[in-house]
Subunit: 281 residues, 2 copies
Protein backbone atom coordinates (compact mmCIF):
# COMPACT_ATOMS: atom_id res chain seq x y z
CA UNK A 1 0.00 0.00 0.00
CA UNK A 2 1.03 3.56 -0.71
CA UNK A 3 2.93 5.50 1.92
CA UNK A 4 1.58 8.86 2.94
CA UNK A 5 3.45 11.77 4.47
CA UNK A 6 2.24 14.66 6.57
CA UNK A 7 4.37 17.55 7.86
CA UNK A 8 7.47 15.79 6.62
CA UNK A 9 6.75 12.54 8.50
CA UNK A 10 5.69 9.14 7.27
CA UNK A 11 2.21 8.48 8.64
CA UNK A 12 0.71 5.06 9.04
CA UNK A 13 -2.81 6.35 9.23
CA UNK A 14 -5.02 9.33 9.95
CA UNK A 15 -7.37 10.01 12.83
CA UNK A 16 -10.80 8.42 12.44
CA UNK A 17 -12.12 11.80 13.64
CA UNK A 18 -10.71 13.53 10.57
CA UNK A 19 -13.47 15.38 8.74
CA UNK A 20 -12.07 14.11 5.47
CA UNK A 21 -13.27 10.63 6.44
CA UNK A 22 -16.36 11.69 8.37
CA UNK A 23 -17.88 13.94 5.68
CA UNK A 24 -15.53 14.14 2.69
CA UNK A 25 -14.75 17.63 4.00
CA UNK A 26 -11.68 18.24 1.86
CA UNK A 27 -10.00 18.48 -1.53
CA UNK A 28 -7.37 16.66 -3.51
CA UNK A 29 -5.06 17.07 -6.49
CA UNK A 30 -3.28 14.49 -8.61
CA UNK A 31 -0.18 15.92 -10.24
CA UNK A 32 1.88 14.42 -13.05
CA UNK A 33 5.62 14.31 -12.31
CA UNK A 34 7.80 14.13 -15.41
CA UNK A 35 11.58 14.00 -15.05
CA UNK A 36 11.30 15.32 -11.52
CA UNK A 37 9.16 18.32 -12.53
CA UNK A 38 5.57 18.92 -11.40
CA UNK A 39 3.53 19.46 -14.55
CA UNK A 40 0.88 22.22 -14.55
CA UNK A 41 1.67 22.94 -10.92
CA UNK A 42 0.28 26.48 -11.09
CA UNK A 43 -3.03 25.18 -12.40
CA UNK A 44 -3.23 22.61 -9.60
CA UNK A 45 -2.53 25.35 -7.03
CA UNK A 46 -5.17 27.58 -8.62
CA UNK A 47 -7.85 24.87 -8.42
CA UNK A 48 -6.87 24.06 -4.85
CA UNK A 49 -7.08 27.75 -3.96
CA UNK A 50 -10.56 28.03 -5.47
CA UNK A 51 -11.55 24.86 -3.60
CA UNK A 52 -10.28 26.18 -0.28
CA UNK A 53 -12.21 29.40 -0.84
CA UNK A 54 -15.45 27.55 -1.65
CA UNK A 55 -15.08 25.14 1.24
CA UNK A 56 -14.03 28.00 3.49
CA UNK A 57 -10.82 26.67 4.85
CA UNK A 58 -7.31 27.81 5.18
CA UNK A 59 -4.90 26.80 2.43
CA UNK A 60 -1.30 25.89 3.25
CA UNK A 61 1.20 28.12 1.45
CA UNK A 62 2.35 27.21 -2.06
CA UNK A 63 5.83 26.56 -0.65
CA UNK A 64 4.54 24.16 1.98
CA UNK A 65 2.60 22.25 -0.66
CA UNK A 66 5.56 22.12 -3.04
CA UNK A 67 7.90 20.96 -0.29
CA UNK A 68 5.35 18.32 0.77
CA UNK A 69 5.22 16.87 -2.73
CA UNK A 70 8.98 17.00 -3.24
CA UNK A 71 9.56 15.34 0.14
CA UNK A 72 7.18 12.50 -0.75
CA UNK A 73 8.94 12.17 -4.10
CA UNK A 74 12.36 11.92 -2.46
CA UNK A 75 11.08 9.41 0.08
CA UNK A 76 9.47 7.30 -2.63
CA UNK A 77 12.97 6.85 -4.07
CA UNK A 78 11.28 6.81 -7.44
CA UNK A 79 13.77 6.33 -10.25
CA UNK A 80 11.01 6.40 -12.84
CA UNK A 81 10.77 9.22 -15.36
CA UNK A 82 7.03 9.44 -14.75
CA UNK A 83 5.23 9.44 -11.39
CA UNK A 84 2.01 10.76 -9.85
CA UNK A 85 1.84 12.93 -6.75
CA UNK A 86 -1.35 13.22 -4.74
CA UNK A 87 -2.17 15.96 -2.25
CA UNK A 88 -5.14 15.72 0.13
CA UNK A 89 -6.24 18.68 2.25
CA UNK A 90 -9.04 18.13 4.76
CA UNK A 91 -10.71 20.34 7.36
CA UNK A 92 -8.80 18.38 10.02
CA UNK A 93 -10.06 16.61 13.10
CA UNK A 94 -13.48 17.45 14.42
CA UNK A 95 -16.09 16.39 16.88
CA UNK A 96 -19.44 14.93 15.87
CA UNK A 97 -21.69 17.13 13.71
CA UNK A 98 -21.46 18.90 10.36
CA UNK A 99 -20.29 22.18 11.84
CA UNK A 100 -16.56 22.76 11.96
CA UNK A 101 -15.20 23.61 15.37
CA UNK A 102 -12.91 26.55 15.99
CA UNK A 103 -9.46 26.82 14.52
CA UNK A 104 -8.71 23.18 13.80
CA UNK A 105 -5.62 22.98 11.58
CA UNK A 106 -6.25 21.27 8.22
CA UNK A 107 -4.78 17.84 7.57
CA UNK A 108 -2.41 17.86 4.60
CA UNK A 109 -1.27 14.53 3.16
CA UNK A 110 1.17 13.76 0.36
CA UNK A 111 1.96 10.57 -1.55
CA UNK A 112 3.77 9.60 -4.73
CA UNK A 113 2.60 6.71 -6.89
CA UNK A 114 4.13 5.08 -9.95
CA UNK A 115 2.59 6.43 -13.16
CA UNK A 116 0.31 4.14 -15.15
CA UNK A 117 2.25 2.38 -17.92
CA UNK A 118 2.37 4.31 -21.20
CA UNK A 119 -0.12 2.85 -23.68
CA UNK A 120 1.27 3.70 -27.10
CA UNK A 121 -1.64 2.03 -28.90
CA UNK A 122 -4.16 4.28 -27.13
CA UNK A 123 -2.42 7.44 -28.42
CA UNK A 124 -2.06 5.93 -31.91
CA UNK A 125 -5.43 4.23 -32.44
CA UNK A 126 -7.67 6.02 -29.95
CA UNK A 127 -9.79 4.42 -27.26
CA UNK A 128 -13.40 3.33 -26.79
CA UNK A 129 -15.50 4.89 -24.03
CA UNK A 130 -18.30 3.51 -21.91
CA UNK A 131 -21.41 5.62 -21.46
CA UNK A 132 -22.22 5.52 -17.75
CA UNK A 133 -25.72 5.15 -16.33
CA UNK A 134 -24.69 7.03 -13.17
CA UNK A 135 -25.74 10.68 -13.59
CA UNK A 136 -24.06 13.70 -12.06
CA UNK A 137 -26.35 15.75 -9.85
CA UNK A 138 -27.07 19.25 -11.15
CA UNK A 139 -26.32 22.40 -9.20
CA UNK A 140 -23.47 21.14 -7.05
CA UNK A 141 -21.88 23.68 -4.69
CA UNK A 142 -18.58 22.03 -5.59
CA UNK A 143 -19.06 22.06 -9.40
CA UNK A 144 -15.69 22.14 -11.10
CA UNK A 145 -13.77 21.35 -7.91
CA UNK A 146 -11.92 18.21 -6.92
CA UNK A 147 -13.41 17.61 -3.50
CA UNK A 148 -13.30 14.39 -1.50
CA UNK A 149 -17.01 13.85 -2.34
CA UNK A 150 -16.47 11.57 -5.31
CA UNK A 151 -19.13 8.89 -5.03
CA UNK A 152 -20.57 9.73 -8.45
CA UNK A 153 -17.23 9.05 -10.10
CA UNK A 154 -16.72 5.89 -8.04
CA UNK A 155 -20.11 4.49 -9.03
CA UNK A 156 -19.68 5.48 -12.68
CA UNK A 157 -16.23 3.85 -12.72
CA UNK A 158 -17.54 0.57 -11.25
CA UNK A 159 -19.97 0.26 -14.18
CA UNK A 160 -17.19 -0.67 -16.60
CA UNK A 161 -14.82 -2.27 -14.10
CA UNK A 162 -15.31 -5.70 -15.64
CA UNK A 163 -14.50 -4.50 -19.18
CA UNK A 164 -11.28 -3.57 -20.97
CA UNK A 165 -12.42 0.07 -21.17
CA UNK A 166 -10.37 2.62 -19.26
CA UNK A 167 -12.86 5.48 -19.24
CA UNK A 168 -16.56 6.27 -19.45
CA UNK A 169 -18.55 9.42 -20.15
CA UNK A 170 -21.01 10.73 -17.59
CA UNK A 171 -24.10 12.84 -18.17
CA UNK A 172 -26.04 15.07 -15.83
CA UNK A 173 -29.68 14.46 -14.97
CA UNK A 174 -30.72 16.57 -18.00
CA UNK A 175 -28.94 14.41 -20.64
CA UNK A 176 -26.01 16.79 -21.01
CA UNK A 177 -22.60 15.19 -21.48
CA UNK A 178 -20.36 16.51 -18.68
CA UNK A 179 -17.03 14.69 -18.51
CA UNK A 180 -15.36 11.31 -18.11
CA UNK A 181 -15.01 9.74 -14.67
CA UNK A 182 -11.39 10.97 -14.54
CA UNK A 183 -11.07 13.12 -17.67
CA UNK A 184 -12.66 15.94 -19.63
CA UNK A 185 -14.01 15.55 -23.12
CA UNK A 186 -13.68 17.69 -26.26
CA UNK A 187 -15.67 17.42 -29.49
CA UNK A 188 -14.62 18.62 -32.95
CA UNK A 189 -16.92 19.59 -35.80
CA UNK A 190 -15.79 21.46 -38.92
CA UNK A 191 -12.58 22.48 -37.14
CA UNK A 192 -14.59 24.02 -34.24
CA UNK A 193 -13.72 22.73 -30.75
CA UNK A 194 -16.50 22.21 -28.19
CA UNK A 195 -16.34 21.11 -24.57
CA UNK A 196 -19.09 20.83 -21.92
CA UNK A 197 -19.59 23.67 -19.46
CA UNK A 198 -18.90 22.58 -15.90
CA UNK A 199 -20.80 25.25 -14.01
CA UNK A 200 -23.41 22.83 -12.60
CA UNK A 201 -21.38 19.65 -12.00
CA UNK A 202 -18.23 17.81 -13.09
CA UNK A 203 -14.54 18.48 -12.48
CA UNK A 204 -12.54 21.17 -14.27
CA UNK A 205 -9.38 19.28 -15.13
CA UNK A 206 -6.05 21.08 -15.23
CA UNK A 207 -5.30 19.44 -18.58
CA UNK A 208 -8.63 20.74 -19.92
CA UNK A 209 -7.51 24.21 -18.91
CA UNK A 210 -4.11 23.64 -20.51
CA UNK A 211 -5.68 22.39 -23.76
CA UNK A 212 -7.97 25.42 -23.94
CA UNK A 213 -5.03 27.80 -23.22
CA UNK A 214 -2.72 26.14 -25.77
CA UNK A 215 -5.40 26.21 -28.46
CA UNK A 216 -6.08 29.86 -27.68
CA UNK A 217 -2.39 30.64 -28.20
CA UNK A 218 -2.87 29.09 -31.66
CA UNK A 219 -5.82 31.39 -32.27
CA UNK A 220 -8.33 28.59 -31.81
CA UNK A 221 -11.27 29.31 -29.49
CA UNK A 222 -12.95 26.52 -27.55
CA UNK A 223 -16.72 26.70 -27.40
CA UNK A 224 -17.69 25.93 -23.78
CA UNK A 225 -21.38 25.10 -23.74
CA UNK A 226 -24.05 22.53 -22.85
CA UNK A 227 -23.75 19.49 -25.11
CA UNK A 228 -26.64 17.02 -25.21
CA UNK A 229 -25.98 13.31 -25.54
CA UNK A 230 -28.11 13.32 -28.72
CA UNK A 231 -25.53 15.61 -30.37
CA UNK A 232 -22.73 13.11 -29.92
CA UNK A 233 -23.08 11.58 -33.37
CA UNK A 234 -22.90 15.01 -35.06
CA UNK A 235 -19.20 15.47 -34.25
CA UNK A 236 -16.27 14.56 -36.52
CA UNK A 237 -13.74 13.75 -33.81
CA UNK A 238 -13.58 13.38 -30.04
CA UNK A 239 -10.74 13.41 -27.54
CA UNK A 240 -10.37 13.30 -23.77
CA UNK A 241 -7.87 15.06 -21.53
CA UNK A 242 -6.42 14.27 -18.12
CA UNK A 243 -3.46 15.49 -16.08
CA UNK A 244 -1.72 12.13 -16.30
CA UNK A 245 -2.17 10.93 -19.88
CA UNK A 246 -2.53 14.32 -21.56
CA UNK A 247 -4.79 13.90 -24.59
CA UNK A 248 -6.17 10.65 -26.05
CA UNK A 249 -8.24 10.30 -29.23
CA UNK A 250 -11.63 8.60 -28.86
CA UNK A 251 -12.89 6.38 -31.65
CA UNK A 252 -16.13 5.13 -30.19
CA UNK A 253 -18.73 5.52 -27.42
CA UNK A 254 -21.57 2.99 -27.39
CA UNK A 255 -22.64 2.68 -31.05
CA UNK A 256 -21.31 6.09 -32.11
CA UNK A 257 -17.99 5.94 -33.98
CA UNK A 258 -15.77 8.83 -34.99
CA UNK A 259 -13.46 9.13 -37.98
CA UNK A 260 -9.70 9.29 -38.31
CA UNK A 261 -8.40 11.69 -35.70
CA UNK A 262 -6.46 14.08 -37.97
CA UNK A 263 -7.55 17.20 -36.19
CA UNK A 264 -7.03 15.55 -32.79
CA UNK A 265 -3.54 14.58 -33.90
CA UNK A 266 -2.76 18.21 -34.70
CA UNK A 267 -3.93 19.16 -31.22
CA UNK A 268 -1.84 16.38 -29.67
CA UNK A 269 1.14 17.81 -31.51
CA UNK A 270 0.40 21.25 -30.05
CA UNK A 271 0.15 19.70 -26.58
CA UNK A 272 3.43 17.83 -27.04
CA UNK A 273 5.05 21.19 -27.82
CA UNK A 274 3.58 22.50 -24.58
CA UNK A 275 5.01 20.05 -22.07
CA UNK A 276 2.77 17.04 -22.68
CA UNK A 277 5.35 14.99 -24.53
CA UNK A 278 3.58 11.65 -24.25
CA UNK A 279 0.95 12.84 -26.74
CA UNK A 280 3.47 12.27 -29.54
CA UNK A 281 5.29 9.27 -28.18
CA UNK B 1 -11.25 13.17 20.90
CA UNK B 2 -13.66 10.33 20.40
CA UNK B 3 -12.41 6.76 20.50
CA UNK B 4 -13.26 4.53 17.58
CA UNK B 5 -13.44 0.74 17.53
CA UNK B 6 -13.13 -1.68 14.66
CA UNK B 7 -13.47 -5.48 14.87
CA UNK B 8 -13.65 -5.21 18.64
CA UNK B 9 -10.37 -3.29 18.96
CA UNK B 10 -9.68 0.31 19.87
CA UNK B 11 -8.16 1.96 16.81
CA UNK B 12 -6.04 5.07 16.94
CA UNK B 13 -6.54 5.87 13.29
CA UNK B 14 -7.46 4.48 9.89
CA UNK B 15 -5.33 3.90 6.82
CA UNK B 16 -4.84 7.00 4.67
CA UNK B 17 -5.55 4.66 1.73
CA UNK B 18 -9.07 4.00 2.99
CA UNK B 19 -11.57 4.85 0.28
CA UNK B 20 -13.74 6.52 2.90
CA UNK B 21 -11.13 9.27 3.14
CA UNK B 22 -10.00 9.22 -0.50
CA UNK B 23 -13.45 9.52 -2.08
CA UNK B 24 -16.12 9.48 0.61
CA UNK B 25 -16.80 5.93 -0.58
CA UNK B 26 -18.95 4.85 2.35
CA UNK B 27 -21.99 5.30 4.57
CA UNK B 28 -22.78 6.18 8.14
CA UNK B 29 -25.56 6.02 10.71
CA UNK B 30 -26.05 7.94 13.92
CA UNK B 31 -28.20 6.02 16.39
CA UNK B 32 -29.83 7.32 19.55
CA UNK B 33 -29.17 5.17 22.61
CA UNK B 34 -31.73 5.57 25.40
CA UNK B 35 -31.37 3.57 28.62
CA UNK B 36 -29.00 1.19 26.85
CA UNK B 37 -31.40 0.51 23.97
CA UNK B 38 -30.73 1.39 20.32
CA UNK B 39 -33.70 3.43 19.15
CA UNK B 40 -35.12 2.74 15.67
CA UNK B 41 -32.37 0.19 15.09
CA UNK B 42 -34.33 -1.64 12.37
CA UNK B 43 -34.77 1.60 10.44
CA UNK B 44 -31.05 2.35 10.67
CA UNK B 45 -30.26 -1.14 9.40
CA UNK B 46 -32.75 -0.75 6.55
CA UNK B 47 -31.20 2.53 5.39
CA UNK B 48 -27.71 1.05 5.68
CA UNK B 49 -28.84 -1.97 3.63
CA UNK B 50 -30.26 0.28 0.91
CA UNK B 51 -27.04 2.31 0.95
CA UNK B 52 -24.85 -0.78 0.62
CA UNK B 53 -26.98 -1.93 -2.31
CA UNK B 54 -26.72 1.44 -4.08
CA UNK B 55 -23.00 1.76 -3.45
CA UNK B 56 -22.52 -1.88 -4.39
CA UNK B 57 -20.72 -3.12 -1.38
CA UNK B 58 -21.02 -5.91 1.04
CA UNK B 59 -22.87 -5.18 4.29
CA UNK B 60 -21.70 -6.70 7.56
CA UNK B 61 -24.41 -8.84 9.20
CA UNK B 62 -26.95 -7.21 11.50
CA UNK B 63 -25.41 -9.13 14.40
CA UNK B 64 -21.92 -7.85 13.66
CA UNK B 65 -23.22 -4.28 13.52
CA UNK B 66 -25.19 -4.66 16.74
CA UNK B 67 -22.23 -6.21 18.55
CA UNK B 68 -19.97 -3.42 17.22
CA UNK B 69 -22.24 -0.74 18.66
CA UNK B 70 -22.75 -2.54 21.98
CA UNK B 71 -19.00 -3.09 22.33
CA UNK B 72 -18.31 0.61 21.75
CA UNK B 73 -21.02 1.43 24.29
CA UNK B 74 -19.48 -0.86 26.92
CA UNK B 75 -16.00 0.54 26.27
CA UNK B 76 -17.26 4.11 26.51
CA UNK B 77 -18.28 3.30 30.07
CA UNK B 78 -21.14 5.68 29.53
CA UNK B 79 -23.32 5.98 32.60
CA UNK B 80 -25.57 8.48 30.90
CA UNK B 81 -29.17 7.63 30.08
CA UNK B 82 -28.75 9.12 26.61
CA UNK B 83 -25.87 8.56 24.20
CA UNK B 84 -25.23 8.55 20.45
CA UNK B 85 -23.67 5.67 18.52
CA UNK B 86 -22.09 6.20 15.14
CA UNK B 87 -21.36 3.48 12.59
CA UNK B 88 -19.18 4.13 9.53
CA UNK B 89 -18.87 1.57 6.73
CA UNK B 90 -16.42 2.30 3.91
CA UNK B 91 -15.30 0.39 0.83
CA UNK B 92 -12.02 -0.33 2.64
CA UNK B 93 -8.47 0.29 1.53
CA UNK B 94 -7.75 0.83 -2.12
CA UNK B 95 -5.07 1.86 -4.55
CA UNK B 96 -5.20 5.11 -6.52
CA UNK B 97 -8.18 5.56 -8.85
CA UNK B 98 -11.95 5.64 -8.57
CA UNK B 99 -12.37 1.95 -9.38
CA UNK B 100 -12.59 -0.43 -6.45
CA UNK B 101 -10.10 -3.26 -6.55
CA UNK B 102 -11.05 -6.89 -6.02
CA UNK B 103 -12.46 -8.19 -2.80
CA UNK B 104 -11.23 -5.56 -0.37
CA UNK B 105 -13.04 -6.01 2.95
CA UNK B 106 -15.04 -2.95 4.03
CA UNK B 107 -13.87 -0.90 6.98
CA UNK B 108 -16.42 -0.81 9.78
CA UNK B 109 -15.98 1.69 12.58
CA UNK B 110 -17.99 2.26 15.75
CA UNK B 111 -17.99 5.05 18.31
CA UNK B 112 -20.23 6.24 21.13
CA UNK B 113 -20.60 9.94 21.93
CA UNK B 114 -22.40 11.70 24.77
CA UNK B 115 -25.84 12.91 23.69
CA UNK B 116 -26.38 16.63 23.23
CA UNK B 117 -27.86 18.18 26.40
CA UNK B 118 -31.65 18.15 26.51
CA UNK B 119 -33.04 21.59 25.66
CA UNK B 120 -36.43 21.74 27.38
CA UNK B 121 -37.10 25.27 26.06
CA UNK B 122 -36.73 24.10 22.46
CA UNK B 123 -39.47 21.46 22.91
CA UNK B 124 -41.67 23.91 24.78
CA UNK B 125 -41.26 27.11 22.77
CA UNK B 126 -40.04 25.85 19.43
CA UNK B 127 -36.89 26.92 17.60
CA UNK B 128 -35.93 29.36 14.86
CA UNK B 129 -34.36 28.07 11.65
CA UNK B 130 -31.83 29.59 9.30
CA UNK B 131 -32.51 29.42 5.57
CA UNK B 132 -29.27 28.26 3.97
CA UNK B 133 -27.85 29.69 0.74
CA UNK B 134 -26.11 26.39 -0.01
CA UNK B 135 -28.33 24.43 -2.40
CA UNK B 136 -28.57 20.66 -2.68
CA UNK B 137 -27.70 19.35 -6.14
CA UNK B 138 -30.61 17.69 -7.95
CA UNK B 139 -30.56 14.12 -9.22
CA UNK B 140 -28.06 12.66 -6.77
CA UNK B 141 -27.34 8.91 -7.11
CA UNK B 142 -27.29 8.86 -3.33
CA UNK B 143 -30.56 10.76 -2.77
CA UNK B 144 -32.09 9.74 0.55
CA UNK B 145 -28.94 7.94 1.72
CA UNK B 146 -26.49 8.86 4.43
CA UNK B 147 -23.23 8.57 2.53
CA UNK B 148 -19.87 10.01 3.52
CA UNK B 149 -20.30 12.68 0.78
CA UNK B 150 -21.70 15.39 3.03
CA UNK B 151 -20.07 18.60 1.84
CA UNK B 152 -23.43 20.23 1.12
CA UNK B 153 -24.52 19.74 4.73
CA UNK B 154 -21.14 20.89 6.02
CA UNK B 155 -21.27 24.11 3.97
CA UNK B 156 -24.90 24.76 4.86
CA UNK B 157 -24.10 24.22 8.56
CA UNK B 158 -21.17 26.66 8.49
CA UNK B 159 -23.52 29.42 7.29
CA UNK B 160 -25.13 29.78 10.71
CA UNK B 161 -22.16 28.63 12.80
CA UNK B 162 -21.75 32.09 14.30
CA UNK B 163 -25.39 32.35 15.37
CA UNK B 164 -27.41 30.80 18.19
CA UNK B 165 -29.44 28.80 15.68
CA UNK B 166 -29.12 25.03 15.83
CA UNK B 167 -30.55 24.17 12.42
CA UNK B 168 -31.13 25.58 8.94
CA UNK B 169 -33.35 24.58 6.03
CA UNK B 170 -31.80 23.72 2.67
CA UNK B 171 -33.37 24.00 -0.77
CA UNK B 172 -32.50 22.32 -4.02
CA UNK B 173 -31.44 24.26 -7.12
CA UNK B 174 -35.13 24.57 -8.14
CA UNK B 175 -36.28 26.40 -4.98
CA UNK B 176 -37.84 23.33 -3.40
CA UNK B 177 -37.42 22.97 0.36
CA UNK B 178 -35.70 19.61 0.97
CA UNK B 179 -34.64 19.19 4.59
CA UNK B 180 -32.57 20.64 7.39
CA UNK B 181 -28.82 20.10 7.50
CA UNK B 182 -29.33 17.30 10.04
CA UNK B 183 -33.11 16.93 10.19
CA UNK B 184 -36.24 16.52 8.09
CA UNK B 185 -39.04 19.03 8.01
CA UNK B 186 -42.83 18.69 8.17
CA UNK B 187 -45.46 21.33 7.40
CA UNK B 188 -49.03 21.43 8.67
CA UNK B 189 -51.97 23.15 7.00
CA UNK B 190 -55.61 22.59 7.96
CA UNK B 191 -54.62 19.40 9.80
CA UNK B 192 -52.91 17.99 6.67
CA UNK B 193 -49.26 16.97 7.08
CA UNK B 194 -46.79 17.64 4.25
CA UNK B 195 -43.12 16.77 3.93
CA UNK B 196 -40.70 17.21 0.99
CA UNK B 197 -40.04 14.29 -1.32
CA UNK B 198 -36.42 13.16 -1.17
CA UNK B 199 -36.15 11.33 -4.47
CA UNK B 200 -33.70 13.84 -6.01
CA UNK B 201 -31.55 14.87 -3.01
CA UNK B 202 -31.57 15.09 0.78
CA UNK B 203 -31.39 12.46 3.50
CA UNK B 204 -34.32 10.24 4.50
CA UNK B 205 -34.09 10.40 8.26
CA UNK B 206 -35.11 7.42 10.36
CA UNK B 207 -37.15 9.74 12.60
CA UNK B 208 -38.98 11.06 9.51
CA UNK B 209 -39.87 7.47 8.68
CA UNK B 210 -40.96 6.87 12.28
CA UNK B 211 -43.11 10.02 12.33
CA UNK B 212 -44.82 9.03 9.09
CA UNK B 213 -45.41 5.48 10.36
CA UNK B 214 -46.76 6.64 13.75
CA UNK B 215 -49.11 9.14 12.10
CA UNK B 216 -50.30 6.46 9.71
CA UNK B 217 -51.16 4.24 12.69
CA UNK B 218 -53.35 7.14 13.84
CA UNK B 219 -55.04 7.21 10.45
CA UNK B 220 -53.20 10.37 9.40
CA UNK B 221 -51.57 10.31 5.96
CA UNK B 222 -48.46 12.38 5.24
CA UNK B 223 -48.43 14.10 1.88
CA UNK B 224 -44.92 13.57 0.45
CA UNK B 225 -44.43 16.05 -2.38
CA UNK B 226 -42.35 18.92 -3.76
CA UNK B 227 -42.73 22.00 -1.59
CA UNK B 228 -41.55 25.34 -2.95
CA UNK B 229 -39.94 27.86 -0.66
CA UNK B 230 -42.67 30.36 -1.68
CA UNK B 231 -45.26 28.08 -0.04
CA UNK B 232 -43.60 28.31 3.35
CA UNK B 233 -45.78 31.12 4.61
CA UNK B 234 -48.98 29.24 3.70
CA UNK B 235 -48.54 26.68 6.45
CA UNK B 236 -50.02 26.86 9.95
CA UNK B 237 -47.30 24.95 11.80
CA UNK B 238 -43.87 23.49 11.13
CA UNK B 239 -41.75 20.91 12.91
CA UNK B 240 -38.47 19.13 12.30
CA UNK B 241 -37.45 15.56 13.09
CA UNK B 242 -34.11 13.89 13.80
CA UNK B 243 -33.00 10.59 15.29
CA UNK B 244 -31.46 12.29 18.31
CA UNK B 245 -33.92 14.98 19.37
CA UNK B 246 -37.10 13.40 18.00
CA UNK B 247 -39.49 16.20 17.05
CA UNK B 248 -39.07 19.94 17.65
CA UNK B 249 -41.62 22.67 16.87
CA UNK B 250 -40.41 25.49 14.60
CA UNK B 251 -41.66 28.99 15.21
CA UNK B 252 -39.77 30.93 12.59
CA UNK B 253 -37.58 30.74 9.47
CA UNK B 254 -36.25 34.07 8.12
CA UNK B 255 -39.24 36.45 8.32
CA UNK B 256 -41.88 33.71 8.23
CA UNK B 257 -43.44 32.96 11.62
CA UNK B 258 -45.79 30.16 12.52
CA UNK B 259 -48.51 30.04 15.12
CA UNK B 260 -48.96 28.18 18.37
CA UNK B 261 -47.91 24.61 17.77
CA UNK B 262 -51.07 22.84 18.99
CA UNK B 263 -51.14 20.31 16.21
CA UNK B 264 -47.36 19.76 16.51
CA UNK B 265 -47.83 19.19 20.21
CA UNK B 266 -50.39 16.46 19.50
CA UNK B 267 -47.87 14.82 17.19
CA UNK B 268 -45.13 15.11 19.80
CA UNK B 269 -47.45 13.35 22.21
CA UNK B 270 -47.96 10.55 19.69
CA UNK B 271 -44.18 10.28 19.25
CA UNK B 272 -43.63 10.19 23.01
CA UNK B 273 -46.03 7.23 23.13
CA UNK B 274 -43.89 5.59 20.46
CA UNK B 275 -40.49 5.55 22.09
CA UNK B 276 -39.48 9.19 21.67
CA UNK B 277 -40.02 10.20 25.28
CA UNK B 278 -38.05 13.46 25.13
CA UNK B 279 -40.79 15.01 23.00
CA UNK B 280 -42.91 15.37 26.14
CA UNK B 281 -40.22 16.08 28.67
Amino acid sequence: MTEWFSRGELIEAISANDRGLQYGDGLFETIAIRDGELRLWEYHLARLRKGCETLGFWMPSDDVLLEGVMHALRESESTEIAAVAKIIITAGEGSRGYGRTGNTPPSTLFAVFPAAPHQAAAYRDGIDLALCRTRLAVGSVAAGLKTLNRLEQVLARTEFAETELIEGLTMDADDNIICGTMSNVFFIKDRMIHTPSLDRCGVEGVMRRHVIACLEKQGIATNIRRIKIAEMSDFDEVFISNSQFGVLPVRRCTDVRWGVADRTREIMSVMADNGVAECLS
